[in-house]
């Protein structure tokens, strides 16, 4: 994997490059050394056990928690986000595991949250609700399965519809990277299929996607490359076409060590800090 990151850290074909990212919470080293590269227009899957540091990595990438050390390059430019607003405006959209939508707001309000369209000037700026509703409808119906009414509260939507709204929000902006944190973790079989279809259609539109998932089958179905994390490190990278479920399981558990990474005894056997 080191060869890959070094080969093209400045190439514009790599939307996002992360090198040696580190993050500690007090004495707990949640991220020891995380490096990965997202090729443009591809789906990169990030897998690892609970507590391997996947969510922390994502949080560092998007600015929810600034990393302690390491480098993040977006389209070749070094970036450092200290809050999620910066990450968003630079073009990194995230669909988080649980905190995706605000239940008591409408679909349209959720889609435009933090980016509301206003009219008027100076201190007298009012929401252009009609325009937001219309655009929200367009955004959702591009992706959606059974299109929810954009005025209905998210609370009334099914799990699949919610995820569709969250994905539409992430994809609807001119974003460089869409990060999906366990997009189907809470869904049933049918809804999972639909959301996977959504992710495929995002890829077909040329989106660069980082998919965090526990589901190896899903990773094999959806991704172009797989990056494996273990105990706060990115320990392996595979092209999806060259790997299989067994190998991924072995890499995640540490039963199989990547040839590049054997300086340390199996860190997966160490007690794991709980991820926040």
């Amino acid at each position: 994997m080191s060869t890959l990151t070094e080969a093209a850290s400045t190439s514009t074909d790599e939307v996002l490059t992360v090198r040696n990212l580190q993050k500690s919470f007090g004495r707990v080293q949640a991220l020891r050394e995380a490096s990965l590269t997202l090729p443009r227009g591809k789906v990169t899957a990030l897998i690892g056990d609970n507590g391997a540091g996947k969510s922390t990595l994502v949080r560092c990438l998007v600015g929810v928690q600034p990393p302690d050390a390491g480098e993040v390059r977006l389209n070749g430019e070094p970036v450092r986000f200290t809050n999620p607003e910066q990450g968003r405006s630079a073009g990194i959209e995230t669909v988080f595991q649980e905190l995706a939508l605000v239940e008591d707001l409408s679909v349209a309000q959720n889609l435009f949250l933090g980016r509301e369209i206003t009219r008027g000037f100076g201190p007298l700026k009012f929401l252009d609700r009609r325009k937001m509703r219309k655009e929200a409808h367009d955004m959702v119906s591009q992706l959606a399965i059974n299109v929810p009414q954009v005025t209905s509260r998210v609370r009334r939507l099914s799990g699949g519809q919610r995820q569709a709204v969250a994905l539409a929000r992430a994809a609807g902006w001119s974003s460089s990277v869409v990060i999906l944190d366990e997009p189907t973790a809470a869904l049933g079989v049918q809804e999972t299929q639909r959301v996977e279809q959504l992710i495929r259609s995002l890829r077909e539109k040329g989106m660069t996607i980082l998919l965090i998932s526990h589901n190896f089958e899903q990773v094999l179905r959806l991704s172009d490359q797989v990056v494996v994390m273990r105990a706060g490190r990115t320990v392996a990278r595979r092209d999806t076409s060259d790997t299989n479920g067994q190998e991924l399981v072995a890499l995640v558990t540490g039963a199989q060590q990547d040839s590049d990474d054997n300086e340390e005894p199996d860190p997966a056997l160490l007690p794991e800090p709980e991820e926040r």
Binding site: P84, V102, E103, D104, F126, L127, R129, R156, L157
Partner: protein
């Protein structure tokens, strides 16, 4: 709900209308329906209850509570609570009285009271949002601090404020509505626009719904949180003017009833105490309902000792209604 557009157009049936009925926002309607029920009951018990004079008196008595309730609604909509509203109002009134006693123009004195009150809100907001201390504790602290400050400034004594233009506020007006009531309702209209037609308003509700998601979307949670406490305190500053106009003096009184009733009106208005769901009209109706209730009880000759008990029962009943209708 979501797919109704595509559903075959069913003939309106009993089932359909029942579904429509269950989709009505009952928590938000409760205070209005309650007010109507109350008006009917008291009008039967006491024919003078709905007379022009009495309705006008009820509204006049409700004006201060309406103003405080609007502020409380913003705070509760973010999932917080402002226990200091009434003491902040008292502090504002005292500052107004002191400057008036110094010979200031009454409106300038009122502005000074407004500024003093707003400062309490700035402290509340910053300590809660930046200091990360629970709203309940912070505003409990400023509740005590603001009323203490009022006592110190006033030296425990009241300042009489006899000012014709101030008296007009309560006496003159249009039809049933005194100027004080018109101010209160005007503020309610502005508040409604702010809550539903500005980015700030959406962010207030978003933070109340989920502060974490809002933060992850780049909303500056601390600014919005500070904002709602400042709004609440500034409105307490306006209420200070109304209370001085009503009493004819600035008194360092505790005014605890205003605090309890402002929270009660918010609950009656179907605002979720966990935040994220709020309207302005319903809590305002709640404030009028509480005032109309007390007025009615007095008119039918029930001892005033029964009033707090009745108010308490009504509020808890309203909270039940909210709970069963999410």
């Amino acid at each position: 709900m979501a797919t109704t557009q595509a559903a075959p157009a069913a003939t309106p049936s009993a089932d359909d209308s029942r579904r429509k009925l269950s989709e009505l926002p009952w928590p938000e309607l409760a205070s209005t329906l309650g007010l109507i029920a109350l008006a009917v009951i008291f009008a039967i018990a006491n024919p003078g209850y709905l007379s022009e004079g009495n309705v006008s008196a009820i509204l006049q008595a409700a004006a201060i509570l309406i103003v405080l309730t609007i502020g409380q609604t913003f705070v509760v909509a973010t999932g917080g609570i402002d226990l200091s509203v009434a003491s902040t109002m008292t502090l504002g009134a005292i500052v107004l009285g002191e400057f008036y006693a110094l010979g200031w123009n009454i409106w300038l004195a009122a502005l000074a009271g407004l500024v003093a009150a707003t400062l309490v809100g700035v402290v509340n907001g910053l300590v809660i949002s930046k200091g990360g201390i629970t709203d309940f504790i912070v505003t409990l602290g400023t509740l005590s601090a603001a009323s203490g400050l009022a006592l110190i400034i006033a030296d425990g004594k009241k300042t009489t404020v006899i000012e014709p233009s101030l008296i007009k506020l309560s006496v003159n007006g249009i039809w049933l509505f005194s100027w004080a009531v018109i101010i209160a309702l005007g503020l309610a209209v502005i508040a409604h626009v702010v809550l539903f037609h500005t980015r700030f308003g959406v962010h207030v509700l978003a933070i109340g719904g989920s502060a974490e998601s809002s933060r992850s979307l780049g909303i500056r949670v601390w600014m919005v949180k500070t904002g709602v406490y400042v709004i609440s305190a500034a409105l307490a500053g306006v209420a200070a003017l109304l209370v001085v106009a009503r009493v004819g003096a600035a008194e360092p009184a505790a005014n605890t009833a205003f605090l309890l009733n402002s929270v009660a009106a918010v609950v009656l208005g179907g605002v979720s105490l966990f935040g994220g769901r709020a309207t302005i009209a319903a809590p305002v109706m709640g404030a009028i309902l509480l005032t109309a209730l007390v007025n009615g009880l007095t008119r039918v000759g029930l001892s005033e000792f029964y009033q707090p008990l009745t108010v308490g029962v009504v509020v808890v009943l309203a909270a039940f209604l909210t709970r069963f209708n999410r």
